[in-house]
Amino acid sequence: MSAPDPSKNPILTFDRVERRYGDDDEIIAVGGVDCSIEARSFVALVGASGSGKSTLLKMVNTLVTPTAGRVLFAGEDVTTQGQSQLRRRVGYVFQGIGLFPHFSVGENIAIGPRLAGETLSSERIGELLSLVELEPDMASRVPDELSGGQRQRVGVARALAGDPELLLMDEPFGALDPITRDALGEKVRELHEKLGLTTVMVTHDMAEALLLADRVLVMDAGQLVADATPRELLMGDGGDIAQGLVSVPRQQAEKLAAMEGRLA
C-alpha cells in the first residue's frame, strides 16, 4: 500500500487501527488498518458481512473505540476530541435509518444543533428537506407516516443539518427498493459535490461502490485488502478478493447484455 501523499490534504487517517472483542481479545473485528482519506473524496468501504467495514466506520465518530492505534480527524485523535462536538462535525447516516419515532421530521432534522444548544430555523429545515428532494411542509409529519425512501432522505437531511465536514454512511440504502436506492444514491453523490463534503460509505454492494465512489477500499477479515479507483478495479487491479466482488455485477451485466443481444 502506498504511503499517504502529503501534497494532498488527508482529513481522515487510520493509524494502525485495531478493534478486538471477547474476554481475551481473541475476536479481531478490525486488525491493523492504515489508510488516509483526502478531503472532498467519496470513498466506498466494501466487504462481505463481518469483514469489519462497519466497525471501522464507527471508530471514526467513536461509536466504537479502537483497542489499539488511532483515528485522526483533521489531524486530531478522535478519542481526545469532545464527543458531542466531534459528532456534530461528522454527519452519520445509519443502516437502520434510526429516526426518532416520537419526534416530527423537523425535530429529527434539528436534533444535532438542538443538542449543541442551537435552534434550527424552519427555513433551514425546509432548505435541508429540499436538498433531499422532500417538500418543506413535511417537517410537521412524524416518521411513521413516511415511506422507507422518504425516511432515509430525512436521515440524510439530519446528517447534513450541522454543516458537517465529513459524511459517514453505514449501508445507507440497504433497506430500500432498487429504484429508490438508485435515485437516492445519485442524490447523495450530487450533494457530496454541491456541499464539498468528504464522504465515506460502507456497502456490501460493489456495483453501488463502483458507480458512486472515487475510491474503493475492500476489507476482508478485518484487513484492508484493496485500495483502488473504480477504474482500476474494472481494469482487473486490486487482487483476488476485490476482483471476486467486482465479478458479480460484471457477470450480471454481461448476462443482461447477452439477453438483450438475443432479443435484438
Binding site: Q83, S84, R87, F94, G96, L99
Partner: protein
C-alpha cells in the same frame, strides 16, 4: 341497620385516607422503581437482582407483608429513636410501596430492553450524552409501557390498601373488616364497592394518560394527569380538614365485643364533650403496642392475654392478684394507665347443655371429673395446644373419653347435636345465653382469668376528665349483659343490631 347509601356516604374520610395512602405508596414505588430500572437497563446483574427481589416480595401475602413491617420498624427504633411510628401510615406506606414495585419495575425494564437498537444507535450517533439519551429518547419511548405498569400497580395497591386496617391505618378496609366480623354485609359491600370504584376510576384515568402518551396526544395525557392531581388534592384537603389531633382514638380488635365496647366508650366520651376517632379491626397482636406507643389512646384488653403474651407468665396467682400485677407493670413499664375492670371476663370456660348438666348432676369442674371418662370434649383448633388445657387436666386430674376439634361456630352446633358433651366456650359469647348453656365453675382456679380492662395510653394517662367520663363503666358490665350485646350483633335475621346500636342498648341496661 343503616341503609347501603347512608353507609357509602359516610365513608368520605376512609376514602380520603385510602386515596392518600395508595397514592403515596404508588409514588414511592415509582420513585424507587424508575431509577432502579435505568440502572438495570445498564447492568444485567442489577436487572436480575432487582427483578428477583421484586418478584420475591410479590409472593409474600399482602396481609403478612403489612404485619412484617411492625417488627421491622420496632427494631429500627434502635437507629431512628422512639419517635419512629410502628403502626399506621408508615408501615402501610412501606409495605404497599414494595408491593407496587414489581409491575412498574418489570414494565420499565422490558420497555427499555425492547427499544429499537437502531434508534438507540442513532441517539449516540447524533451526539447525545447518556443523560440526553435517557431524557430525550429512552424515557419518552418507554413512557406508555411504564404507564401500563403504573396502572397495574395502582389497581393492586388500591386493593391491598384495604388490608392496612389491620395495622391501624384508616382505609376502606375499615368497613370491610368491621362488617365481616359483625356479619353486617351492607358494610362489607359498601367498603368493597368504594374500593373497587376507586380502582376502576384510577385505572380509567391512568389508561387515558397511557393512551395519550402512546398516541402522543398532549391534551389527553395532560387532562388525565390533571384529573388525578385534582382527585389527590381533594383527598388531601378533606383529610387535613377533618384531622383533629386532640381527638381521642379508640381501638378495637377483630371481634364483635370489641366493636361494641369501643362504641360504648366512644359515646361516653362524646357525651363528656370529647371528639373521638375509631380505629376498628386492629390485629390482636398490634393493639397492645399501639396503646403503649400512644398510636391509639384507649383499648379494651384482657388480663389473661397480657399475662401470657406480654408478661410471659404461665402461673396463675388468682384473678385479683393477676390484675394488680398487670396494672402495676403497665404503669411502670409503659406509662399505660389501666383504668379498671369492666366487670366481666371473656375467658376460656367449659360449657354444657343445661339438660345434660342437670342429668349428670354437674355444676363445677370437680363434678365433671368422675364422669369425664364417658364424655367427649370439643374445642376450637388451638385449645388443646394451649396452657389452659394442660392446667385444667393437671389441677383436676381430668381425663375425657374423647377430644375433638371444631371451628368456633361448629363447636356450638356440635354441643346442640350431641356430637360433643362439653366444649371450651368463651365466657362472654352471646351463644352461651342463646343456647342456654351452663358454664361450669372452676373452684381450683385452673383457668386463668380474662378480665376485660380499660387501658389508657401514656398520652392521656394523666387526664382525669377522661378517666371520670369512663369511670361509670368500671365494674358495671356483667357477663350476662355483655353476652346479650354480643349475641345481638352476631345473630342472623330479626333483631340483629349494629355494634353502635348494641352499645346503646348496653348503655341503657347498665343505667347510663
Amino acid at each position: 341497620m343503616e341503609s347501603f347509601a347512608d353507609i357509602l356516604l359516610g365513608l368520605g374520610d376512609k376514602l380520603a385516607a385510602h386515596v392518600v395512602l395508595a397514592a403515596s405508596a404508588i409514588a414511592l414505588g415509582i420513585g424507587v422503581a424508575l431509577p432502579l430500572a435505568v440502572w438495570a437497563s445498564r447492568s444485567a446483574a442489577v436487572s436480575r437482582v432487582a427483578l428477583g427481589f421484586a418478584s420475591l416480595v410479590q409472593t409474600i401475602p399482602a396481609l403478612a407483608l403489612l404485619a412484617l413491617f411492625f417488627p421491622i420498624l420496632l427494631s429500627l427504633r434502635a437507629v431512628f429513636g422512639e419517635g419512629l411510628p410502628t403502626l399506621g401510615f408508615l408501615p402501610a406506606l412501606l409495605a404497599l410501596a414494595l408491593y407496587a414495585l414489581l409491575p412498574i419495575l418489570r414494565n420499565a425494564v422490558t420497555a427499555q430492553a425492547n427499544l429499537d437498537p437502531g434508534v438507540l444507535e442513532a441517539a449516540d450517533g447524533v451526539g447525545m450524552t447518556g443523560w440526553q439519551k435517557l431524557r430525550l429518547v429512552e424515557a419518552p419511548l418507554s413512557a406508555p409501557f411504564i404507564m401500563a405498569g403504573i396502572r397495574t400497580a395502582s389497581v393492586w395497591t388500591i386493593g391491598a390498601a384495604t388490608l392496612s386496617t389491620t395495622i391501624g391505618q384508616p382505609s376502606l378496609g375499615d368497613p370491610i373488616f368491621a362488617g365481616l366480623q359483625t356479619q353486617n354485609w351492607a358494610l362489607v359491600l359498601a367498603g368493597c364497592f368504594a374500593s373497587a370504584g376507586l380502582a376502576l376510576v384510577t385505572d380509567l384515568l391512568l389508561g387515558l394518560i397511557e393512551r395519550g402518551l402512546a398516541d402522543r396526544k398532549r391534551w389527553q395525557w395532560a387532562g388525565g394527569m390533571l384529573a388525578v392531581v385534582l382527585g389527590l388534592s381533594a383527598a388531601l384537603a378533606y383529610q387535613s380538614g377533618g384531622k383533629n389531633d386532640d381527638a381521642i382514638v379508640i381501638a378495637s380488635k377483630q371481634f364483635s365485643e370489641q366493636y361494641i365496647l369501643a362504641q360504648l366508650i366512644g359515646s361516653q366520651l362524646e357525651q363528656a364533650g370529647y371528639e373521638v376517632e375509631y380505629r376498628d379491626g386492629l390485629g390482636s397482636a398490634v393493639v397492645h403496642n399501639a396503646v403503649t406507643s400512644s398510636a391509639i389512646d384507649i383499648s379494651v384488653d384482657y388480663t389473661g392475654t397480657i399475662w401470657t403474651n406480654n408478661l410471659k407468665r404461665t402461673d396463675n396467682p388468682g384473678r385479683d392478684a393477676m390484675y394488680e400485677t398487670i396494672r402495676q407493670w403497665e404503669a411502670e413499664e409503659h406509662g399505660v394507665r389501666v383504668l379498671g375492670r369492666l366487670g366481666f371476663e371473656n375467658a376460656y370456660a367449659f360449657a354444657m347443655r343445661e339438660d345434660r348438666a342437670d342429668a349428670l348432676g354437674v355444676a363445677t369442674l370437680d363434678d365433671l371429673v368422675p364422669v369425664a371418662g364417658q364424655l367427649t370434649v370439643g374445642g376450637d383448633p388451638e385449645f388443646f395446644e394451649r396452657p389452659e388445657w394442660d392446667a385444667v387436666r393437671e389441677a383436676y386430674g381430668m381425663r375425657f373419653g374423647e377430644t375433638r376439634n371444631f371451628s368456633p361456630t361448629f363447636m356450638y352446633n356440635a354441643l346442640r347435636s350431641g356430637a360433643a358433651d362439653v366444649i371450651s366456650a368463651y365466657t362472654s359469647d352471646g351463644r352461651i345465653a342463646a343456647d342456654r348453656l351452663v358454664v361450669l365453675e372452676d373452684p381450683r382456679e385452673a383457668l386463668p382469668s380474662y378480665d376485660a380492662m380499660v387501658m389508657m395510653s401514656p398520652r392521656i394517662a394523666g387526664d382525669e376528665d377522661v378517666a371520670a367520663a369512663l369511670q361509670p363503666l368500671i365494674g358495671a358490665i356483667s357477663v350476662e349483659a355483655m353476652r346479650e350485646a354480643n349475641f345481638a350483633v352476631d345473630r342472623e335475621g330479626e333483631g340483629k343490631l349494629s355494634p353502635k346500636a348494641a352499645a346503646a342498648d348496653l348503655a341503657a341496661r347498665i343505667g347510663l
